[in-house]
Each structure stands twice: as structure tokens, then as C-alpha cells.
């Protein structure tokens, strides 16, 4: 039967609302507003998990996001399960199910606990040292290691939750809503600056909001009352947006920050249904005020990890904020006054404090006097040397320190009973975000803290994250900093009367001495990764000197908490051991995220149909209605083939391509890039961007062009039509359209600003239906009867303006199939209707819609290249046997110079050729390698197959390939080396069908 350790009412939780939840299968109750940690502690549950390496029992140590131990799996065995959730952060809700991690069969009896007894065999670098030999055993080792690695279990089903992103632009971003954050937000907003205030907790006010010490006053009110009034005033400010449960994950350069806003993690499943769970805020702030506070330090001594050992600030928060006693026999271990403040607070609530063990010799402030007056036993100049109790702390052993703190004054050991130990090892400014932004730190020797030094962007740090720990310093320095930073004359906080006791004596010892040899102790530095002080010392003995190397060798600071508690101790121990100053060592790099982010948050709504944007042609609905299969071409969804009944793709493509050659086919060619080119220098512009000449192209005529990169390699191709004296329309490849336009704009704006040329994309403005085949002319005649389609009036490679009813259109007689073809371009919103009209007109000719696969086959029969398939950025026009398209007369064009380099003129470059298989029914695999001699070692690779199909019009397999020196190898036999066989092929001309272009001009 668990006890109820709720000791007082708290205004921060709703004691009228009971919340039922399960932990390790057992039902418990807490109140609305409780975290899982506070609710468990109120039920006297300290043991919540097992440690990563040694499987030691671990309890709740903190009350915040720095928690290293109390990580739980929530909603296990469901799609909503999540590992490594900090019990100190998750708020309980009805139906929450949480379970301990890293233990089997249970947290109380964990088989892995044997590791604790084997710990002498598991030093730092255990894996590196142990699994080296024999090398052949690695796979076996790996199997075992992988099964024991990791914390928690990943969900196995798709995440049913909804996530989102939001961009925010503000004048001032304030991170942290403790007392300094409140001051900063109020000041900024009152000065007409659009301000955003974020805090990871569900309440504003930080630790001041539950401060109840009689010794700490602002304007003669308790600091919490004063702050409450300030918070009330915040709500009236128009310029201020406040977000709680929002943690800044990353602070990038130029004040770009990412934050996770938790929207439903505190709600029951029913209440959270269909709501956005978490939102990633992408924040651009003109100015940033970091008010992230500081983290209390634990203390490093033997067995400092038992359940019941906590931070003193956490003990205080559980009592003051949640009304929960974390123990009934409390002891504090301290090097500063924080523990005294906590002890007094506990005592005032009737929670027994047995003693305070202080490593200082003469602590003497109002807090220390206050504690003494309450009758709390104080052990001055003492340290803890050991703790006892396997699953819950029950005793501690203390000894008096020597003068230098490195050994003992005598050999007397005092044993004290206790069930909760609050450690107060001083404070570490939370500089993580500051350093993520590129800020440089400096080390302050007097109290051994790293504080911000050089700011990389328009930002400041205020409060304890800037090294101000006393309330009067915090308020005065923050006010001063705000005035300078925001360029204002005054704040509301300039003349406050602040009273607070001063911490007069500071003593810091990174690693406390033990009465046992170090090798026999377990002084944990990094609780989450089970790294101890002796691991760090071992790393130093083994030659690791850089903090970055020690970190990786011992895994210190590499857990999900990123060493928020232990990193400073690791530095201190290294410095002490190596005999150097901490400031000289520097710190390890703090990297985003500050606390772990879910993948869902990072992805947002970019999942499922919104994973990538897709583009549809105007005829898309027709393709869907007619059961087309689609393929992705860039972002376009293009009709791939139109299977009938149970046809395979092969069968459909054979049918479609045969029909296109025998009678008529129709293709949706709307995706081709289309660029409208106008201006008096349009012809000159084309001369410069294409390899061939354009000035003499007559109005009304079309010409194929090849565009090169400056390196002479083929970049894009397409047909350009001269619409008027100074007006052309260029077509590009589907995938290359955007890049071609941007490249051409780039040239116009940077290289040739003197040219009078204007480019506009009209890709989406036109729908294009391409009709090909022997009956295409008859079909077009039915659609546009008044257009003269005679070869004299409308020859191949020309265009006509026309009208279909009242709608203007352009008809190009151009062909990518080798058939007599027309491309009808009409304004996109008439595209579907045009297509239907073509189908209707073509019905008597059994017009066949065909998709991209058939298009590829038909063009391959003609040896027409596809840029990107038959080229790969290393092919010149000459390599493609397209010398005819490269003008020798033009002064210049992009890539010309490169075509005359010795490398591009070599005879043995890879060149485009045709391939025929000895067995005409054998279709080669695209990408297959081409060789001459399979017995040679290594086998010489001559090239590869770029396009390969079975041609129903030729009744044989055909392929295009690039082969080294292929141009001069016509008729030669080569081998396609496949996994299980060799296929014999012969090099042939790449034009397989209608070499004389009879059909094209028919």
C-alpha cells in the first residue's frame, strides 16, 4: 500500500480534479497539474527505472528537463508509444500509462542488474577494448550488443498524431519566463516591440513563483506575490504573445530559432483527438533575450545515484509547488546556501529535515542561521562518503573533510538515517542556447561557472544564465542590460527595493574524497550513461587529453540529457586531475536540440500526401477516369501507361506503341517546360544559349536545340519556335524547366545585361496534346477544319496559330516519335476539353492514349535522346553523335570553348550507340555494364546501357548505350555481363526505325 505524501495544498495544481494513471501496470492517483514525477513521489514511488549500463536502480532526481534518470516509456504497445519521456516534464492525464525502461522482467527485479556486480569488468572503453578480437566474431558481438543497446522502445506503427509547423517573426524573443524573462518581456512589449515569450513549463514565473521565504522580498512583498502581479500585468499587453509548454530546441545563426510547442501531451486521449499534438515554431527574431536560468549541480561522491537522492532545488519544488514531501527523513548535502533555504521551506511545511551536511567551514548567512534556529543539525566541513539502500536510500555515511578538501580530518564515520538526500552543488548557468548560437563563454573562477562573453548576434543573456544568482543582482543587472539592449531610458524595475540574504562563503569540490580506493567506488558524473569519475580518470591515464575525446571515450554528456547535470563535473575532474584550470579546458559543444524533439515535430504536416508537392496537368482527371498508372517525373504526376483489363505494363506499352505507329496515338505533353522569349535580341540570345544557329530561323518555323553547360556537357534540349520577329517559345525537358529558366535569367542578369530579352515561364499556361501516327493529320483536320494541313502550307518543324471554336491555340508540327505528329497547345483550362475532343475525333481511327513509357519506347526506336537518361552530365553533343547540331560558324555559345579541350575531343570518350542483342527477344537491363572480356581481372568496363525496350514495331529488343570509343566500333560484338549470364550484343547505329524519316514527312 503506497503512502500519500501530499503535505499541503498548492495553488499550482488542481486538487479538486483527481487524475488516474498507471505506472508499471499499477493504478495511482494524482491531481490535475501534477507531473508524472510529482504524482509518483506523492505515492512514495522513488524507484522509476534502471541505469543504462549497470542497471542500477534509479529514482527521480530533478523537477525539470535536465532529468537524467526518470525516463519512462509511455503508452507502451500502442502506436502512440514514446520512449525516454522525462517523468519530470510529462503532466499526468486520465488514462496515462507509463512504464520503466531498461529493465527486465521488472524495475524491482532486473536481470540486467548483474552488470552492477560485473562493473569492474566494464570500464570506460569496454566495447573498444573487448570486441576487437577475434575479428571474425564481430558479427556475433554486434548481434548481442544491438539487442542490449538503446533506451526505450521505438513505436512500430505509423504515428497517428498530427504535428504542424508555424513561422513566427518578432521584434524580441524572450526565452524563459522566470523572473528575468517576465521583466524582459514586459519591458520589450511596453516599448512597442512585438514580443514573444516562451517557457518550457506550463506556468510562468520560474522558481520565484513558488518562493515563500520571509528573507526574500521585493518592494516589501514576498517575491512570489510581486511576480504574480507582474504576470497579471503581462496579460494586458497587446504586443506580447506568450507560449507555455514550449521549449526552444535550437538557436541557429542570425537569430533563427526552433521551438517545440506542446499542445496536447497533457491531455487525455479523448481530449487530444484530432488536435495538433506538437508544433515546431520557426522563429526569426530581431533581438533575443535569453533568460534560461541555471541548473543546480549534483555532487560527485560514492553511490550518489540511489533512488531518493535528488537535487535540493527539486526537493523544494516538489514541496512548494506540488505540495509533495519527497521524504520523511530529509538530509541536505551542500556547498552553498540553497540547501538551507530548501530545508527551511520544508520545515515550514512540517516535513522533517534531519540534518544539513555542509562542506564549508563557516557558513553564516540569514538562511544558515534560520536553519540552525529551527533545530536542524548542521555538519560543517563534512562530506558524504557513501550512501546505503539498494532500491531506496536509507542511510548516508559522512566524514569530516581535511583543510584542502582532498582527504579527511580524521577517520570517524558518522552514519545518518535518511530516505531523501537533497544535493546542492551550486549552480550552472544554462548557456546551452547561447553557445548553440555561436556565443563564446568565459570562465569565472570565483564561483566556477561558464558565463556568456561574446555574443554572435543581437542578443543578451540575463539573470542566472548570465551568472547572476542573487535576487538583487538579478533584478538590477537585468534592468540595466535591458535598457542598453533595447535602447530605452528606463524600465519598471529601476527602483525596486530588493531584500535577499547573501551567500558569503563559496567552496567547490568536483570529486569528493572517499574512504575507499577510487576503484571500489561509484561516484557518478553522468547518471544517464553511467559514467563515473573513475572512468574519466581512466581515460586521462590512457592518454585522452581533449575534453571532446574524454567525452566520447567515457560517453559523458552523450545521453538524451546531453550532460546537463554532469558536464561541469567532468570538466572539473579532468582539470583537477590534469592540474590545469577549468577555464583553459573549455567546454564540449552544446548541440541542438536542447531537449529531444519527436520526429513528428520536425516533419510537421509534410507527411502522406503532403510529403512533397505534386503537379497535375490539365488533363489529369481524364487520365484518372481512364485508369492510367502514373509515374513521378520531377514533381509531376504523368500518365505512365493505360492498362486495359489485367494488362501488365509491358503488354500495355506494346499495345500503345503499335497503335501509335499503325494509326494514331495521343500523349499529354503538357509537362514540358515552356519559356516565352521576347525582345529585340531574342535571336542573339538563342544563338548564345544553344549550340546551333537561330538568326535565320523563319517566323513560323521550329528548330531543335541542344543547351550545354559551360563545361560543354549537354544540359537540356527541346524545340523552340519562332512566333514572330522578336518572339520565340522555347520548350525544355519536363524535369529541367525550372533550372533552365533560372540559368537563362542568371545569364541575362549577370553576363548579358545588354541584351533586350525578356523571359516568362508559360509552362502551366498551356495544355499540350500531342497527336502522332499516320492518321494524325486526319484527326487534326476534324478538330480544326479550316487549318490548311498540306505539307506546303504546314511542313514538318513549323507552327500555325489557329482557333478551336472561339479559343485561340497554337499547333506545332513537331515529333518526338518519328511519326507525323502535331502538338496542339491551348490555354490550360481548355486542356481537358481539347483532349476529349481529340479522343472523339480520333475514335474512328482508334486513337490510342499512350503514356510516358510508350513515348520512351517510340523515341528510342528513332534514337532520340532523353537528357538525363541517355546523358549524365558527362556527355558532349559529339559524344551523342550529334555533331550536326554544333555550329562551327557561330562566334560563341555556352560551352563552346569546352568542346575544344583535349579531353572533350578524345576519340575514346564514351559515345552513344545502339545495341542489338543476339537473341532478339532478350531485353537488356538499363544500367547494365558493357565489357569485352569477362575473364580479365579487373574487368574493363566500357560503358553502360542507358535505354532498353522490346520494340513491337521492329519485333526485337533494342537499346541505347554509351560505350568508350563506341562511334568507331560499329558492328563489333560486346558482352553485357549480368549476374547469372552474359548477353552478347552488337554495336549498331542508334537510329533503329525509319532512318530516312519517311514517316515523319508523310
Amino acid at each position: 500500500m503506497s503512502k500519500n505524501l501530499r503535505v499541503k495544498s498548492s495553488k499550482f495544481i488542481d486538487e479538486t480534479t483527481n487524475v488516474s494513471f498507471k505506472f508499471n501496470g499499477k493504478t495511482y492517483y494524482g491531481f490535475k497539474g501534477d507531473t508524472l514525477a510529482s504524482a509518483l513521489l506523492s505515492n512514495d514511488v522513488h524507484l522509476v527505472g534502471r541505469s543504462f549500463k549497470y542497471h542500477r536502480p534509479r529514482g527521480i532526481m530533478t523537477a525539470g528537463s535536465e532529468e537524467p534518470n526518470a525516463m519512462v516509456q509511455i503508452n507502451d504497445n500502442t502506436a502512440l508509444t514514446e520512449p525516454n519521456v522525462r517523468a519530470t516534464e510529462i503532466e499526468i492525464y486520465d488514462g496515462l500509462e507509463a512504464s520503466s525502461q531498461n529493465c527486465w522482467p521488472s524495475v524491482n527485479f532486473d536481470i540486467g542488474g548483474v552488470n552492477n556486480f560485473l562493473s569492474p569488468l566494464l570500464p570506460a572503453g569496454f566495447y573498444y577494448k573487448t570486441f576487437m578480437w577475434p575479428a571474425s566474431f564481430w558479427e556475433k558481438y554486434e548481434y548481442v550488443i544491438r539487442h542490449s543497446a538503446g533506451l526505450g522502445k521505438s513505436p512500430k506503427e505509423p504515428d497517428p498524431d498530427i504535428y504542424d509547423h508555424r513561422y513566427i517573426h518578432c521584434d524580441v524573443l524572450v526565452i524563459g519566463a522566470g523572473i528575468t524573462g517576465i521583466m524582459a518581456a514586459k519591458t520589450a512589449a511596453k516599448n512597442n516591440l512585438k514580443t514573444l515569450l516562451l517557457d518550457e513549463k506550463n506556468e510562468l514565473g520560474g522558481s520565484t513563483i513558488y518562493q515563500d521565504s520571509d528573507h526574500v522580498k521585493i518592494n516589501n512583498q514576498s517575491s512570489s506575490t510581486w511576480l504574480e502581479n507582474e504576470i497579471t500585468e503581462l496579460e494586458e499587453l497587446n504586443n506580447l504573445e506568450i507560449k507555455t509548454r514550449t521549449s526552444v530546441a535550437a538557436y541557429h545563426g542570425y537569430n533563427y530559432l526552433l521551438a517545440r510547442e506542446n499542445l496536447t501531451d497533457h491531455l487525455s486521449k479523448n481530449d487530444a483527438q484530432n488536435k495538433i499534438r506538437q508544433r515546431l515554431l520557426k522563429i526569426r527574431a530581431k533581438k533575443v533575450i535569453v533568460a534560461t536560468g541555471s541548473l543546480e549541480r549534483p555532487m560527485v561522491f560514492n553511490n550518489n545515484d540511489r533512488p531518493g537522492i535528488m537535487l535540493s532545488s527539486a526537493v523544494k519544488k516538489y514541496a512548494d509547488y506540488y505540495g509533495v514531501a519527497t521524504g520523511q527523513k530529509n538530509i541536505f548535502f551542500t556547498n552553498n546556501d540553497t540547501a538551507y533555504e530548501s530545508a527551511i521551506s520544508l520545515n515550514n511545511k512540517g516535513i522533517k529535515v534531519e540534518a544539513i551536511v555542509d562542506i564549508r567551514k563557516n557558513p553564516n548567512s540569514e538562511f544558515t542561521k534560520g536553519a540552525e534556529n529551527l533545530g536542524i543539525k548542521i555538519y560543517r566541513n563534512y562530506t558524504i562518503v557513501d550512501t546505503h539502500g539498494y532500491k531506496k536510500l536509507n542511510k548516508i555515511s559522512i566524514m569530516e573533510l581535511s583543510k584542502d578538501g582532498q582527504s579527511f580530518a580524521n577517520s570517524n564515520i558518522i552514519t545518518l538515517d535518511c530516505d531523501c538526500l537533497g544535493m546542492a552543488g551550486g549552480w550552472t548557468p544554462a548557456v546551452h542556447l547561447f553557445t548553440q548560437s555561436g556565443g563564446k563563454l568565459k570562465f569565472r573562477d570565483e564561483d566556477q561557472v561558464f558565463i556568456p562573453n561574446k555574443y554572435p548576434s543581437d542578443q543578451i543573456s540575463v539573470g542566472s544564465c548570465n551568472g547572476d544568482f542573487e535576487l538583487d543582482e538579478i533584478i538590477n543587472n537585468t534592468s540595466k542590460s535591458l535598457k542598453k539592449f533595447l535602447n530605452i531610458n528606463g524600465t519598471d524595475f529601476d527602483n525596486l527595493d530588493v531584500q535577499c540574504p547573501k551567500d558569503k562563503e563559496i567552496r567547490n569540490i568536483w570529486l569528493f574524497p572517499s574512504n575507499k580506493v577510487l576503484g571500489k567506488t561509484k561516484p557518478f558524473v553522468d547518471y544517464q550513461n553511467d559514467a563515473t569519475a573513475k572512468d574519466i580518470k581512466l581515460a586521462l591515464r590512457e592518454g585522452f587529453k581533449s575534453i571532446e575525446h574524454v567525452k566520447r571515450y567515457t560517453t559523458t554528456g552523450m545521453g538524451t540529457d546531453q550532460g546537463k547535470l554532469g558536464n561541469m563535473h567532468a570538466l572539473g575532474i579532468i582539470a583537477d586531475t590534469a592540474g590545469i584550470k577549468v577555464g583553459e579546458l573549455g567546454t564540449t559543444t552544446f548541440r541542438p536540440p536542447y531537449t529531444p524533439l519527436t520526429f513528428g515535430t520536425m516533419v510537421g504536416r509534410n507527411v502522406g500526401e503532403y510529403f512533397d508537392a505534386f503537379r497535375r496537368t490539365p488533363m489529369n482527371d481524364w487520365h484518372i477516369e481512364n485508369k492510367a498508372e502514373f509515374e513521378n517525373v520531377g514533381q509531376w504526376k504523368r500518365a505512365w501507361y493505360y492498362p486495359k483489363d489485367d494488362e501488365t505494363m509491358h503488354d500495355a506499352v506494346q499495345r500503345e506503341s503499335k497503335a501509335a505507329r499503325d494509326s494514331a496515338g495521343i500523349l499529354d505533353a503538357s509537362t514540358l517546360g515552356k519559356i516565352d522569349i521576347q525582345g529585340t535580341d531574342a535571336s542573339e540570345f538563342l544563338n548564345r544559349v544553344y549550340t546551333n544557329a537561330w538568326s535565320k530561323l523563319a517566323i513560323g518555323k521550329c528548330r531543335y536545340g541542344l543547351m550545354l553547360n559551360e563545361d560543354g556537357m549537354v544540359y537540356d534540349d527541346g524545340v523552340t519556335t519562332r512566333l514572330d520577329e522578336n518572339h520565340y517559345i522555347m520548350t525544355t525537358t519536363t524535369g529541367g524547366a525550372a533550372n533552365v529558366l533560372s540559368k537563362l535569367e542568371d545569364y541575362l542578369q549577370t553576363e548579358w545585361p545588354e541584351l533586350d530579352v525578356y523571359l516568362s515561364s508559360v509552362t502551366d499556361h498551356y495544355a499540350t496534346a500531342s497527336i502522332c501516327g499516320p492518321n494524325s493529320k486526319k484527326i487534326l483536320n476534324k478538330i480544326i477544319p479550316d487549318l490548311d494541313l498540306s505539307d506546303e502550307n504546314f511542313p514538318h518543324m513549323s507552327f500555325k496559330n489557329a482557333k478551336i471554336d472561339n479559343i485561340k491555340c497554337r499547333v506545332m508540327r513537331i515529333s518526338f516519335t518519328g511519326e507525323h505528329s502535331y502538338e496542339i497547345n491551348v490555354q490550360a483550362n481548355f486542356g481537358k476539353s481539347l483532349w476529349e475532343k481529340c479522343m472523339e475525333a480520333g475514335q474512328e481511327f482508334k486513337i490510342m492514349p499512350y503514356g510516358t513509357e510508350t513515348m520512351h519506347l517510340l523515341r528510342a526506336e528513332k534514337g532520340f535522346i532523353i537528357v538525363g537518361q541517355d546523358t549524365d552530365g558527362t556527355m558532349t553533343p559529339i559524344d551523342l553523335q550529334m555533331d550536326w547540331i554544333v555550329s562551327k560558324k557561330k562566334y560563341d555559345f555556352i560551352g563552346k570553348r569546352s568542346l575544344y579541350r583535349s579531353d572533350t575531343m578524345k576519340e575514346d570518350r564514351k559515345q552513344l550507340v545502339g545495341l542489338l542483342t543476339d537473341n532478339p527477344s532478350e531485353v537488356l537491363e538499363e544500367g547494365a555494364q558493357i565489357v569485352t572480356n569477362t575473364n580479365a581481372t579487373p574487368v574493363e568496363m566500357l560503358g553502360h546501357v542507358t535505354s532498353s525496350y522490346y520494340s513491337p514495331n521492329l519485333n526485337k529488343s533494342i537499346a541505347l548505350a554509351v560505350v568508350r570509343g563506341g562511334k568507331n566500333m560499329m558492328g563489333q560484338k560486346l558482352i553485357i555481363a549480368m549476374e547469372n549470364k552474359n548477353i552478347n550484343v552488337t554495336i549498331v547505329d542508334p537510329v533503329f526505325f525509319d532512318k530516312e524519316n519517311v514517316r515523319l514527312n508523310a
Binding site: Y167, W636, S760, D805, F830, K832, K837
Partner: protein, 187 residues
């Protein structure tokens, strides 16, 4: 007769938000650099092209959106007929601008789909997918911006406070419209 079919299937209404396609609208890209160009446009259209970046000017029948120092989009203020794609304004400008070598006129009426979005949550909607800072934009009637929304290029024109015309390339419009509705349903 060819029928007019747009990519947007349905208008949608949410609390504080209305998403509706406006069609057909004539849209022309007009480009030119010279003073003569600006003057001729002014004379022919009876309106001045906006020179200040990311602004617009509106005449009785037409609105001009600034897109770049030598590029504007001219749109009809009212819907036009679905039964023709011959526009008097275009013909007039081709005659007086293109043919006189002052600049370029390009019909982009179907290049862009115009989606009107209005309501108090317009900019909350945009904040879910656009990195653009709308803080000043949303208070300055006539503002124009070219930005991305859900990774897609868009032009946004503030016609009234909390009322915008969004221009998106037709091929992306179905996807963007679906995304807008998904996002709007969660605001």
C-alpha cells in the same frame, strides 16, 4: 466548343476563413525597362505601374502587381468570359508595346490560379507554411509578395485587410488548395 475546366473543385468556408477560386481572370506579364515603356503603358491602360517594390496599383478595370524592377502582372479586376481567350487589353498592349519594341507582353491567364482567401485567420494560415514575414504586409493594403507556401512558389496580394489574392501555378494549385484546406481545418 471547348469547355472551361479549372483545377479547383470546391470553395471552402471555415470559421474566420473563406477559400475561394476567382475565375476566369485575365493575367498578363508585362515587362519593360524604359521610361517610354512606363509612359505608354500608362497611356494605354490609364493607370500608373507601381515602381515601389512589392506594391500594386489599381485602376478601374485592372490591377498591376510589381514583381521585379522590369516585370509586372496585370490582372483584370472582374471575371471575364469563359468562352474566349482573346483579350482586348492584351491585343492593345501587343500592338503598342511588343510591336513597337518597348517591351514584352505575355498571356499567363491560365499559368496562375487565383485563390481568394479572406477572414481573420488568413495570416495564421500562411504562418503554417510560409517563411515570409507578414507583420508589415498585412497592414498595408495593396502589398504584394512573392514567397513560398508549403514549398510552392506563390504571389500574394493584399486586396483589403484580411483579404488576399493568392496566385499559384496551375499545376501546383490542386495540391496547394488541398494543403490550404487541411491547414485551415486545424487552425
Amino acid at each position: 466548343m471547348l469547355n472551361y475546366n479549372t483545377s479547383i473543385k470546391q470553395d471552402k468556408i471555415y470559421s474566420d476563413l473563406e477559400i475561394k477560386e476567382i475565375k476566369p481572370i485575365m493575367k498578363l506579364i508585362i515587362r519593360g525597362k524604359t521610361k517610354d515603356f512606363i509612359t505608354t503603358i500608362g497611356k494605354n491602360l490609364n493607370m500608373i505601374l507601381p515602381i515601389e517594390p512589392n506594391t500594386s496599383t489599381a485602376g478601374e478595370a485592372l490591377t498591376a502587381l510589381w514583381l521585379s524592377p522590369d516585370e509586372w502582372m496585370l490582372i483584370s479586376n472582374k471575371t471575364i468570359s469563359e468562352e474566349t481567350n482573346t483579350y482586348e487589353v492584351e491585343d492593345n498592349l501587343i500592338k503598342n508595346i511588343s510591336k513597337t519594341k518597348l517591351g514584352a507582353i505575355t498571356d499567363v491567364s491560365d499559368q496562375f490560379v487565383l485563390i481568394n482567401i479572406k477572414g481573420n485567420k488568413v495570416f495564421d494560415l500562411f504562418a503554417t507554411g510560409s517563411p515570409f514575414n507578414f507583420n508589415e504586409f498585412k497592414n498595408k493594403k495593396g502589398s504584394v509578395t512573392q514567397t513560398i507556401l508549403s514549398h510552392i512558389d506563390v504571389i500574394i496580394h493584399l486586396t483589403e485587410i484580411n483579404n488576399v489574392n493568392l496566385f499559384v501555378r496551375r499545376s501546383f494549385s490542386e495540391h496547394l488548395h488541398s494543403w490550404l484546406n487541411d491547414s485551415a481545418s486545424r487552425l
